[in-house]
Amino acid sequence: MAALLNVVLVIPLAGFLILLFLPRHDHGLIRVTALFFTLAAFAASLPLATAPATPGFQLETNFSWIDNPPIRYHIGIDGISLWLVLLVTFLMPISVLASWKHIETRVKEFFLFLLLLEVGMIGVFVALDLFLFYVFWEITLVPMYFLIGVWGHERRIYAAVKFFLYTMAGSVLMLAAILWLYNATGTFDFPRMQTLIANGPLTLGPAQELLLFLAFFIAFAIKVPLFPLHTWLPDAHVEAPTAGSILLAAVLLKMGAYGILRFCLTLFPQASRDLAPAVSILAIIGIIYGALVCLVQPNMKKLVAYSSVSHLGFVVLGIFSFTQLGADGAVYQMLNHGVSTGALFLLVGMMYERRHSLEISAYGGVATPAPVLATVFLITSLASAGLPMLNGFVGEFLVLQGTAEADFRYTVLAATGVILAAWYLLWLYQRVFLNETPQEVATHMSDLSGRELATIAALVVMMVWMACCPKFC
């Protein structure tokens, strides 16, 4: 069973290597190969869910990679990372399918980067050695940089460079902190470091703990993104190709939240508690600010991007409520957001392929020529807005309940975000899908093809299932 986790990590890597040697002009073969390997990784990752729910890490592999300094290939999963790994493997075939027709130039490179990104993303969630974690963390940068910069929209270069530099500026601080920790403990191993800090052999002074916490936290907060470090996000999301937007929103943002949950809270508990009010207030500002920007946004993709800022605010708020419910809700909300915002980006991408515009004003009455598209878009919007019986509700409810235990004022403020979300999403739906159908819209907006329907159906099924059976988390 422990080998399984390695298999999940190796399959996309194998796909990457095989793809390297395929002829570059045979686009069909390249697409099928990429789909095959992402599906294989998904299939291989499914049995992970049956791992017994015991506390601590499971399915560990641990051997030495470099002797001096002692860097180990140490991977394993627990109740949090398991679902995030599944989220990655689930969304990868969807991203491949979303790029099927959309990507016509440099097809081989595109899928190469996509598979490399998958390796990095899975690696981030399973790494239990701080060094290894940092390696995977940085490796996700390169393929995403190229995905945005080569296959993106008009301002792609600006967005790609901004994305790279923002993330790197944060992560070098994290590297400094990792080096400091190594110097103090003599190990990069996360479970060992945790024991050393928890049981007292390593005592951090309050000032040291605060600085180390900040070094890690800023790196993660940029990724989440937490207000006011979010400015790279609208650019990157809007300019990225559809698959890039899906993975950015659904997975890369979660890497930040996961990092906070995994490393900041466990290694620096006191500093986390001390700063919780400040972080919570920033999270609430993010929730409300993101939602307000959505209300005045004329660009659909940007609207969805800003809704991520708002939704991720809930995740951070839940984590820093320091309650069981809040933390559960945060993790659940991470998965929900991955599915529903991933789906929104997918749908916006499909609409762009038809109409070649992201402006809301270019649409109207789309429900008439494309009723199926309209239906799934409505379901997805409602899921994202947190309607009961769809997945978003469960996560947001848990977060708010957990926050209420901690400080009721936060709950009141954050709850406005839920209301605003319903407002901007339904208003978006109204402007795009209802009313009169202009002539250009009627000619361009054909309904979903079989491939597209299959892709989006998988996500819609997940939305309903995650709402009805939340116990699995």
Partner: protein
Amino acid sequence: MDGLLPEILLSVFGTLVMVSDALTEESHKDWLGVISLVGIYSAVMAALISYVNRGTAFHGMILVDGYATFFRLLVFVIGFLTVLASFSYLKRDGLPQGEYYALILFSLAGQGLMAASSELIMIFLGLEISSISTYILAGFLRHDAKSNESALKYFFLGSFATAFLLYGVALIYGATGSTRLDAIRLAIEKGEAGGKLLAVATALMFVGFAFKVSAAPFQIWTPDVYQGAPSPVTAFLSTGPKAAAFAIFMRVFFTALPDSSEAWMWLLWISALLSMTIGNFAALMQTNIKRLLAYSSIAHAGYVLVAFASRTRIGAAAAMFYLAAYAFMNIGAFVVVSHYSSRGERYVAIDDYAGLGHRYPFLAALVTIYLLSLIGIPLTGGFFGKFYIFRAAVNADLIWLTVLGLLNSTVAAYYYLRILVVMYMQEPKESTPLDPLPAGIAATLVVSAAAVFYLGMFPGRVLEFATQAALFVPPR
């Protein structure tokens, strides 16, 4: 005798190349390159043999230890790759092959001597042998004004810097009565020497060495010299002589002057920060790729100085590792520049690289590997180099230098990314013609890329060797 075998062989082969140059017809000149490769290969073997019989020679003037061997092997490999990459360049631009290869071999002999010297006069000799050869190499494009400027600047400023060094050597001798590094140290420890004379001598030697490694504030010559010199020579200049200069820099300061390390650490600290900052920020504004890489080379010297400033064994080992990693990624980058620039080095603007990713995917992929390594992305040698350096710095409580250095590497990412942007994300303005990749250049590029990955994935053995070799660094 074993102690100097590599340098003797290199001198013999260098002379052989020069003599055969006069005796071979124009059509057979290719053989001169092959002779040089054989010469360097035999020098590598000789370096290994003399490592087996390590110890001192010539009354303690030569010291063959792990440290000397590490740098000997490094500069010889750099020389080998340079010669390999120069075959097609020399033919393309119609340059005299014999002199070129001979000068490279002599320069390598000088650098090997530097690596293995444990006495100030030998160090000076090695430095001059290496420098004079490279002064000529920098001006090898005789009809090119830029190349002439390069050689002249390099010669004048270089001689000036050497004078500083020599002045320092003289003062040290005056203060301690010896030029042998261990004897100098003993004299200082016994309290026979010290005070102002020694401080002035240390500062003067620091200036000389800092010039040779192109560390700020003695870096002014670097961009002009690197830009004007023929690209394969620049590849060589920025790696080989630099590594050898760092070798003696650390050897002298750690062996002879450890007592005053508290004081000269601040010289290194300031120089490191200045080099990283000036190098990286100046590189942001460059439009010529050779100048960009020249400024980046100043910044990389700054990173090595950070490791040096930590004054520990792991710091010295980190500096050695970094110099090795830097050599491969930088040679790779400059050799691509030399091939792409076309006859007379016409295409050296960054914008000339537009669309390279689309037109020559293989070449562009290689450039990407070198650039990612220069940025310091994991799984490349550049990353582990930086990682070891900053680990040593944190270990020595140089927290500020670490944070500033790491933030500097983010600034650096911007200008390296700009090259990637141009290559992959912009359309070519005019289709710059490109010859098919000659075998020599292809071999150099592939070997460099493989070395970058090897050092990035399995750095253990090289670091282990470097750590053993750095045992001469006194524990703090």
